[in-house]
Amino acid sequence: MKWGLIFLGLSNFLFAADAQFTGKRDLNVSAIIMFLIFVAATLGITYWAAKRTKTAKDFYTAGGGITGFQNGLAIAGDYMSAASFLGISGLVYLKGFDGLIYSIGFLVGWPIILFLIAEQLRNLGKYTFADVASYRLKQTPIRTLAAFGSLATVALYLIAQMVGAGQLIQILFGLPYEWAVVMVGVLMILYVTFGGMLATTWVQIIKAILLLSGASFMAFMIMYKVGFSFESLFSQAVDIKKTSAILAPGGLVSDPISAISLGIALMFGTAGLPHILMRFFTVSDAKEARKSVFFATGFIGYFYILTFIIGFGAIVLLSSDPQYLDVVKGGIIGGGNMAAIHTSHAIGGSIFLGFISAVAFATILAVVSGLTLAGASAVSHDLYANVIARGKVDEMTEMKVSKYATIALGIVAIILGIAFEKQNIAFMVGLAFAIAASANFPILILSMFWSKLTTRGAVWGGSFGLLTAIVLVILSKAVWVDVLGNKTAIYAYGNPAIFSVLFAFVGIWFFSITDKSDDAKKEMEAYEHQYIRSQTGIGAEGAVGH
């Protein structure tokens, strides 16, 4: 496989040779070499991990032996996607301060996750967040709903990542879009099927270290060039942009409802993303789970400060250098999302550009692997083992199913990635967060903290939240106008979360308190047992089945 990829890389090399004549970037040999080194190293890790992945527990949770520090890096890695690296530095480059508003929204969900759910999740769960949500409720309906919520979130996120990967690689490596998508798909299938969570975690950790080091170096060089003075960085940027508006809140967050709605989606959405929640089962106990969030928050916060500096650095370094400017369209070549990439060239020449390009590609690979594993777990652990087989399944069969599910998801991701090439997919990550916030999160948190939650309440309320989120996204500008071509949006606010999350909670509350069945009574009585376990971890050690 390794040779096949090198061959792929080489042929890509030849193919890309003519790309420079079509106005794309020059072929970047160093980028390709560094990327191949990364691929070889990660395949080596996968081989190592495959030998250690024998049981279902190994496959889903890396045997539960990841430390808090490692998990913190891996969580940060999952969160620092190529979209957030290139997207947020690009947003800062274009809009200045507004980029910071976004990063802060993405970050503040983390402390809340730590205070409210991290240790409870670790104490109650086994492999997926549905383990927690269905702890004392009926397995079939709750797991089906949770698996559906997980798969919807994963699929939307995955498509966005695949399309981003294809477009990015096209620009960076000169490789045709379809090839890039297929390559990402094949590599992620290999990592996940053979190496399971252990390989996925280490790929993520390595990439997080590479990304943080690369971004740190960029920010350091930018600060060096401006004499380590923020004032000087900002004043040069203001001189270039000829307006000080970039240092103040702009049009990004215009009305209070949109602002609060975005805040809710980012905060609760983070706490409902299946690939992130799954990481809490890879550590040994609540202590390590807390440390994971502490380190993750630190790394993510640090990373956002770096992207802020890089965005302003891009204004200062790129705007006066014709080699980065697009004379026809105005602005920089490739648009705002390329700001960080061009800045890396301005700082460290083609070698460093190669490094950052390779890291950006590695980032996509690592993130899609985590997503695929979460999606495959929802299929094999929730749908197959607990719904279809009703818990009567041996580990080996369950693992086999998860591997088939990984391959199937990978193929679907490749096909959708190619199908959505020319589509406007800007709404997809927003929708993924909205579904996570409105369907997954309310059920999860209420199952932990509200004794009166019943299966009926969770199913009705969760479905309500899910539907409201989908309908409002379809009626919002991102789909109704930008995709479907209507003139004005029916739903005027950017994000559905303020309504869909509220509907979900009200729905769950109403259908739970009106549930007078005997089963509901049993479910409420079972809360005490669950509560003691969630608070103390008694019964959670070794993650024994329940």
């Binding site: 301060f97 730590l114 240790e119 103040a248 928050t297 103390t536």
Partner: protein, 104 residues
């Protein structure tokens, strides 16, 4: 895990102490984070000019140090919680586990 252990934990006053202390602590920290974040968002939504004010004689606006401080506050709050939960609260949890086991 036998039901007995859960019954013993339930009546252990230390369990109530743990749940109350940790619950209150988590709630206070959550409220601090939410108030800080939503104040920031509401100022942006209702009074963006507040953050556009320049500090000192330069171009740097008030919004920038405020924004960066929120990132640091988020990190510090997770540190404060982890410190106390991994120390004091885990100590209490271990005592509860020990007592419910030794009574068996």
């Amino acid at each position: 895990m036998s039901q007995n252990i859960y019954d013993r934990v339930k009546v252990n006053p230390k369990f109530q102490e743990l749940v109350q202390k940790r619950g209150r602590f988590a709630l206070i920290l959550s409220i601090i984070m939410l108030v800080v974040y939503y104040s920031f968002i509401l100022v942006i939504a209702f009074s963006p000019s507040t953050f556009a004010q320049k500090i000192g004689n330069g171009v740097t606006t008030l919004g920038i140090p405020v924004g960066l401080s929120i990132i640091i506050i988020a990190f510090v709050l997770t540190g404060i919680y982890t410190q106390r939960a991994n120390g004091e609260f885990d100590e209490l949890t271990n005592q509860i586990k020990e007592e419910s086991r030794s009574a068996e």
